[in-house]
Each structure stands twice: as C-alpha cells, then as structure tokens.
C-alpha cells in the first residue's frame, strides 16, 4: 500500500511526533510507522546512532523516498548510499541507507547540517564508501550525489564529489573540472578515462549523476539536464569509491572538495531522471520539515523548493 499523504488536513501536515504512531523499543521511543521494511530498518538504525527518535516529518520523507524508488524500479540498483541530512547527528547521517557504512575521515559534528548535509574542507576530509569500483559491472553502474553547495574557490586542481580511480583506465567520477586559473563545469569520468562536461559553468546546486548501461555510451544528469555522450567503457578500477575526494589509485585521498552534499549513491545503472526526482524530493521534504515543522509529503516540489529558498535567504513564515 503506498505511503502517501494526499490530504490537506492540518494534523497530517504538521508532522509532529504522534504517540499513536510510535512504539517503545528498549528504554526509548522509536518510530514504527514506516510500512516499508527497508525504510524501517534504516530509520531505526539512524535513531540508534542518534540516540533519539526522529521526527515524523523526517520519517515520512525517508519512507516516501524508499517506497518511491521501489515504485520506480530503481531501488535495487542502489548498492551503497547515505542520506546525509535529516539525522540528528553526524553518526546518524553516516548510517547507510543501503550497503556498507562509509568510513569517516576527519569529519566532525560541525561539518554536518540536518538541512544541507556534509561539507568538505578541500584539504583533509572525505568518506571512504568502502565499495570497490569494480563491485558493479563494467557496463552496469551509476554514481550520484545531491549537491547543496558546489565545489568553489581556486583549489589549484579539480575537486571531486565522488570517485573511484585517479583518471586512470576505468575511472568513475563526478567532479568539477579545473583549468588554470578557474574551476569549470561539472565533469564525469564514465568508467573510462575520457572526460565529459557539457553542463553550465558555474554549475547549479542539485542532483548530479552518471549511469552506464551500454559499452558505447552513457548518460549523465547535471543541473536538471540529461546528456548522453558516446564514450566506450573500460574495465573498472578496483579502487574504493571516495566521497568529497578522489582515490589516487592506492586508496589515498587527493583532490578534496569543499562542496556540501546531502546524498550519495553508488550501484548499478538506473534512470537518472527518476533518481533525481526522488532525491530532490527527499532532501527538500527533509529541509522543509526542519524549516517549517510541516510534513512536506503532500506539497508540490516547487512549493518545497520555494519555501526552503526563502528560509535559506533568512526569511521565515512564522
């Protein structure tokens, strides 16, 4: 049964914790309303890491996402992923939605925001996803991130959002290209060491991903547009996939990013537009709830984005 809230009823919109939708687990209260077992397991793990129950608005946003991805037929392609928003703590944010937990390298609690995600420092901080670049087949793979602040400044080299391989054969990466003296458009290494970048410069915040299901071409989606360049795939590197830095080929981080991201996923090929829609909705529902105290589930995505932008600018509706 789909987990949807279509009513405009104010009780459902407020998203505050409802005792009748809770249960006692051990000595604490945990949510128990998610009808989806994968969402339920994830949310309980986040609450355990946080040491506190999540609000219903966050629970509902995550449940919507998982149920929606399953409905779209893309859920099984996601093999490693973290929602880097919504959780109350950094530890909660690093609980994997799917797959192996990432290894935290130098992030501290101050680097994490419940609304906008995890920010890099461009010099020392990154996640090791602990998923090897060749864990997914050569012509059946994807990477994605949701960016709330693009890589910026003048790092002297291209900063990477997510990467396996250091521009060698079979590299997979999403990054921002660099040519002295400036950063350029968002760029992709699509299971090959041939760079593609067709999007705007500067890029926009939002979903950025690539997916390959063919040997001869791949798709990538950046700033709301999908591109389909022809680049022949190569045997993928076995390097672990790093987040907010590049794996140099010897499991050492380099090309750190100062971007802020609120989601990443690694896995098999999928429809990037569908994933974009789900991830964009997820992060905006979470941010909307944390801004307004209202459950975002029944609102149009344009409403969520508009209200969140107003709060980000310093406004309030209270």
């Amino acid at each position: 049964m789909p987990f949807r809230r279509t009513s405009i009823d104010s009780d459902q919109r407020t998203g505050f914790y409802s005792p009748k939708r809770s249960r006692v687990v051990g000595s604490r209260i945990a949510h128990s309303i998610s009808p989806d077992p994968d969402a339920e397991a994830y949310l309980l793990a986040v609450e355990a890491a946080d040491g506190e129950a999540l609000e219903a608005g966050v629970v509902n946003a995550v449940t919507d996402f998982v149920v929606g991805c399953k409905s779209d037929g893309i859920w099984d392609a996601v093999k490693a992923s973290c929602i880097l928003a919504g959780a109350r703590t950094l530890a909660g944010a690093l609980v994997p939605l799917v797959g192996t937990a990432p290894t935290n390298n130098n992030f501290v609690s101050g680097d994490y925001s419940r609304t906008t995600g995890l920010v890099g420092d461009g010099s020392t901080k990154y996640l090791d996803s602990n998923r090897a670049g060749n864990a997914d087949p050569q012509d059946n793979a994807h990477l994605s991130v949701y960016i709330t602040a693009i890589s910026s400044g003048n790092p002297g080299a291209a900063p990477y959002y997510i990467s396996s391989g250091a521009f060698g054969v079979g590299s997979k990466a999403l990054f921002r290209a660099y040519q002295t003296p400036d950063l350029l458009a968002h760029s992709v290494l699509p299971t090959a060491n041939t760079i593609s970048f067709l999007g705007p410069n500067p890029p926009l915040n939002g979903f950025f991903g690539y997916s390959r299901s063919l040997a001869a071409s791949f798709t990538y989606r950046d700033s709301g547009t999908t591109y389909t360049p022809s680049t022949t795939s190569q045997v993928p590197t076995s390097d672990n996939t790093f987040v907010l830095a590049r794996n140099n080929g010897s499991n050492v981080a380099e090309r750190y990013s100062n971007a802020r991201i609120s989601f990443y996923s690694i896995g098999e090929s999928l429809d990037l537009t569908l994933l974009d829609n789900r991830v964009t909705r997820l992060v905006n529902e979470i941010e909307f709830f944390l801004n307004t105290g209202l459950d975002g589930g029944g609102y149009n995505i344009n409403t969520l984005k508009y209200v969140n932008a107003g709060y980000a600018a310093g406004g309030s509706l209270s």
């Binding site: 405009i8 104010s10 919109r13 407020t14 307004t292 105290g293 209202l294 609102y299 149009n300 344009n302 409403t303 508009y306 209200v307 932008a309 107003g310 709060y311 600018a313 310093g314 406004g315 309030s316 509706l317 209270s318």
Partner: protein, 234 residues
C-alpha cells in the same frame, strides 16, 4: 503553526493551480512579495533570477501588503533582460495592494524604439501604459481602486490583452521591434540610459514576467493567493 500552515497552503495552491491552468511554465521570473517575515524572504524568487534591490528600506515592506515604494529612488531590477523574450511574446503582471502617491510604474522598461510599462495613477485611478509599442493605451480610468491584479500579455504582432480590476481588454497596437539588452524594472521603469523613471509610491505584493499567458487565469490565482496571505497574517 497555523500561520505557517496557512501561508504554505496558499503558496502551494497558487503553484499547483498555475500548473493545472497551464500558466506555470510561462512565469519565467516572479516574486511573492508578501507573507514572509522580512525582505530577504520576500525577494526569494518563486521563478527565475533573484531581483536586485536598489535603495530598499526594510520599513517599506509589510507582510500583508508587500513592498511600498518611496516615489523617488527605490526599485527592483528583475534581472530579466527585456530582450529575453520575443517582441510579441511577453507578459508582465503585478498585484497592487495599496494605492498611494501620484503615479508610478509597477513594471517597465523603455528602449530606443519601443517600451513596455504598467503605469498606475493613484490620484485619479488611471491605469495605462505601453506593450512593446509606442501607443499609450488606457486599461482602466476612474474606477475606484481596490487591491488588484494588473498585467498585460502579448502573443501577436498586432494586438495584446490587458487586465486590471478584474476586467480584461484586447488592444490593437503593432509591436515594434526592439532589442533592449537591459533589465526590466519592478516598481519603476528602467531606461536605456540605466536610469529609472516613474518610481512607485504605492505597494505591490507580486510580480511576474514571462512568455504570454491567459491573464484571467493568472489573475484568479494571484488574487486568491493574496487573499490567503492576508488571511494568514494577523
């Protein structure tokens, strides 16, 4: 919480309504300049680029009635260039929430060859202006002021429609090609010299700029939106 809920519901009903009406994609730049706690929220773009404020004072913003001009130097640049649209493919719209002062332009630009502006004379309740032409056209005259949607839309070289005080009129004027590469003003007309003219002393609480659309449909949505905001603010 009730206020937040009411405001969000008003925004959502407007957006979903415009999508249902088929007008949403024609709104290429817009701000809802009411409901928000401060100017920063009010100048958050609903669509398109963030406007730039010139000589704005926070005291000129009201959550219920929007942005009131000073009749001198205060205005917004929409950051939408007038030549971003085809000469016969433009709409500009506003919501005037409070009368005041003598006259001013809710939106406008004036190029070398033609101009487009929405002018309102508070002193005698005259609404007139130009729409990518050089023919001064009256949209309403002498009808008592009430808060109103005010806009026009041109999708033809030979005619366009205006709408104010819930009344729509089709005007026969010829669009004159123009290539102004400067921005459309909000709360004043921006001239090709970079200066402004006709800064408002009245208040506006909504504007939109974009491709042609059905003004009656947009009027209905904007009017309901403004009513919802008014009702939500104590």
């Amino acid at each position: 919480m009730t206020q937040v809920l009411s405001l969000v519901n008003a925004f959502d009903a407007f957006i979903v309504g415009c999508i249902d009406d088929g007008t949403w994609d024609s709104i290429n730049a817009s701000c809802i300049m009411a409901g928000w706690s401060n100017l920063s929220g009010a100048l958050t773009p609903l669509a398109g680029p963030q406007p730039s404020g010139f000589n704005l004072a926070s005291g000129e913003y009201s959550r219920a009635s929007g942005l009131k001009g000073d009749g001198a130097s205060m205005y917004l640049s929409s950051n939408v260039k007038a030549n971003a649209f085809n000469i016969s493919g433009l709409h500009m719209a506003s919501f005037i929430s409070l009368s005041g002062g003598s006259f001013g332009d809710a939106l406008g630009y004036q190029g070398n060859d033609s101009l487009a502006l929405l002018r309102y004379y508070s002193t005698n309740n005259i609404f007139n202006g130009y729409m990518n032409d050089t023919t001064l056209t009256f949209y309403s005259s002498g009808v008592a002021f009430t808060p109103t949607f005010y806009g026009f839309s041109r999708n033809s070289n030979t005619s366009y429609t205006s709408r104010v005080l819930s009344s729509g009129i089709t005007h026969t004027t010829t669009a004159i090609p123009n290539t102004p590469s400067f921005n459309i003003g909000v709360g004043a007309t921006i001239l090709n010299t970079g200066l402004i003219t006709a800064p408002i002393s009245y208040a506006i609480s909504f504007y939109s700029i974009g491709t042609p659309l059905n003004l009656s449909l947009l009027d209905n949505r904007v009017t309901v939106l403004m009513s919802g905001i008014q009702n939500a603010i104590p």
